[in-house]
């Protein structure tokens, strides 16, 4: 893991107030390989967003550090693109200007025409070729997030960070944009780190899912490999024999084990346990009857 493209080591975040210390997460260590799509799932308050912000350079950890491509991560950089949950488009710029502004920041020496052509290309890739000159306020939530994704991919960062990018979208729109994300990702072979609350979304997109235990003192407890062949389709992925094994394993963790100190807590590990549910025997604890609604409540 030390030789991974991105290495997160012993990361911890502590908030100190007058009379108490709140350890949000501690001893978080994992790696991300080049070209890998990694999702992280955990209950609210476990510090997922803080980990992503530290990766982005927007927040500082209390302990530990991050090394990407042989260099320590200090502060924000164009090498790490971020897609925020609330899109974070600049409302006074048009769709095209929002992307073009990022492209110009990335390659200041490009000619105007080159930058525009590059920007238009990525907007077309997310199906927004017809809305180049609209303001974000004239776009639906799904279209805004497409612009945000186009902006992030257009700058060709070494690591792409997605902070629950589909959290504010309705289920139908979400499905469509997941497909588009998969398409762009397979075309660009980006390294992606993504936060999500949606187990199905994580299985569809990820090579590996990191599971976080509940905070305070949250940890990355397990690293679940998703051994389902690509290209994956939203419609057919459920037919893969591994799909429900993985899904049950994840749901079981989130509902039954994430808050269980004895199982995931303690100082006995600092590297997440690697799990491959698809390869394990079929007599895994069956959790298929768990109510999805209960999970939604639990993870929100």
């Amino acid at each position: 893991m030390r030789n991974a493209f991105v290495t997160i080591e012993q990361l911890g975040k502590t908030y100190s107030s007058k009379n108490e210390e709140l350890v949000v997460f501690e001893d978080v260590s994992f790696g991300i390989e080049k070209g890998e799509f990694v999702c992280i799932i955990g209950h609210s308050g476990c510090g997922k967003s803080t980990i992503l912000n530290v990766l982005a350079g927007l927040d500082k950890p209390s302990h530990g550090g991050i090394i990407m491509d042989g260099k320590e991560v200090i502060g924000p950089s164009l090498d790490r693109g971020v897609v925020f949950q609330n899109y974070s488009l600049l409302p006074w710029l048009s769709t095209l200007q929002n992307v073009n502004f990022a492209v110009k920041a990335r390659w200041p020496n490009w000619s105007k025409a080159d930058a525009l052509e590059h920007s238009v290309g990525f907007l077309k890739m997310v199906g927004l070729g017809h809305s180049l000159h609209k303001k974000p306020s004239e776009l639906s939530g799904g279209m805004r997030q497409r612009v945000s994704i186009a902006r992030a991919f257009a700058t060709n960062p070494k690591l792409l960070l997605l902070d629950e990018p589909f959290g504010a979208l309705d289920a139908l729109t979400r499905g469509v944009i997941q497909d588009e994300l998969l398409k762009i990702w397979s075309e660009t072979q980006q390294t992606v780190f993504m936060i999500t609350h949606d187990v199905d979304e994580a299985i569809l997109l990820a090579d590996r899912i990191l599971l976080m235990s509940n905070g305070p003192r949250a940890r990355v407890a397990e690293s679940v490999s998703i051994n389902i062949s690509r290209p994956r389709q939203r419609g057919t992925i459920v037919e893969d024999p591994a799909y429900y094994k993985i899904r049950n394993y994840l749901v079981n963790f989130l509902v039954n084990r994430a808050g269980d100190e004895s199982e995931v807590g303690g100082a006995h590990f600092s590297v997440p346990k690697v799990v491959d549910p698809a390869a394990e025997r079929a007599d895994q604890r069956d959790t298929s009857e768990i109510d999805i609604a209960a999970l939604q409540v639990a993870t929100n």
Binding site: A56, G75, F84, S88, L90, P91, W92, K135, P136, S137
Partner: protein, 275 residues
């Protein structure tokens, strides 16, 4: 049913006609039973009380003044256009120099919590001072009444712009700052490409408040410094006991103030954005 705009316009016209009619009716000079002596005419007719001129008189005077607004017949007899131009020149000079100071300073205060804390006591003490209270000091230091009036406009229009700029800059959404940071924008580029457009509507609101205050203050300042300008004109016509001109110039002050506000309102609309 007619539209709301048409109906409200109808009510406005009715109010205008009604109020002008009332004013006209209440201020008719009494009919004299015999021809007045020249002395009686000078003293306002047979009536013992001075009367406000009726709107018909004011309007015919206004027509007369507006038909030749730029005549110049010596220091005490200039057209209304010349007087307004003097006032506008002072207001715009003081206002623009205030904007040149207030907006960059507001940026510094808004972006730096240290400067905000350090400068806040000065702002809090200086802001409530009536701009006219600066006049004696300005006259003593600058030794020029024209420039003193401009200084008074400068000092009164600086505060709303300064405070609104600082507030707008300090409250730019942190997401947009994050976007600037993740795109490695320099401090200067962040200020011009992200913070300025984000805070522009708030800054323009401050500029609009300032121009209103500046136009209020110029009338009083010119009454003090004298010589030229619409404020001086009002006071001078009062000394001439020419109430037609006084009422006419009051209306002109209102019309010009409205035009200034309208112009900045248009600019404000230009920089407005919807989230």
């Amino acid at each position: 049913m007619s539209s709301l705009a048409a109906r409200s316009a109808l009510v406005s016209v009715c109010l205008l006609v009604g109020l002008l009619g009332l004013w006209e009716a209440l201020n008719q000079p009494p009919t004299a039973s015999e021809a007045l002596t020249e002395f009686e005419i000078l003293m306002g007719g047979v009536d013992q009380e001075a009367r406000v001129p009726p709107p018909s008189q004011v309007m015919s005077h206004a027509w007369h003044e507006l038909s030749n607004p730029f005549y110049d017949a010596g220091p005490n007899d200039k057209g209304i256009g010349i007087q307004l131009a003097y006032s506008l020149f002072r207001v715009l000079t003081g206002y623009v120099s205030a904007a040149l100071v207030a907006i960059p300073l507001g940026f510094i205060i808004g972006m730096s919590p240290l400067m905000h804390r350090a400068l806040n006591p000065f702002i809090q003490v200086l802001r409530p001072i009536s701009p006219l209270a600066w006049m004696p000091l300005a006259l003593f230091i600058i030794k020029d009444s024209e420039q003193s009036a401009i200084f008074v406009i400068f000092i009164c229009s600086i505060w709303p712009m300064l405070i609104n700029t600082a507030f707008g800059v300090a409250n730019v959404r942190s997401d947009w700052i994050s976007v600037a940071q993740t795109h490695e924008l320099s401090q200067l580029k962040t200020a011009f490409l992200v913070i300025l457009p984000a805070a522009a509507p708030t800054i323009l609101t401050g500029m609009r408040i300032s121009i209103g205050i500046a136009w209020l203050v110029i009338v009083a300042a010119e009454m003090l410094v004298g010589g030229t300008g619409i404020g001086y004109y009002v006071w001078n016509e009062w000394n001439n006991l020419d109430l037609n001109s006084v009422i006419f110039s009051i209306l002109m002050i209102g019309v010009v103030g409205m035009a200034l506000d309208f112009a900045l309102g248009r600019v404000e609309k230009l920089v407005q954005y919807k989230e």
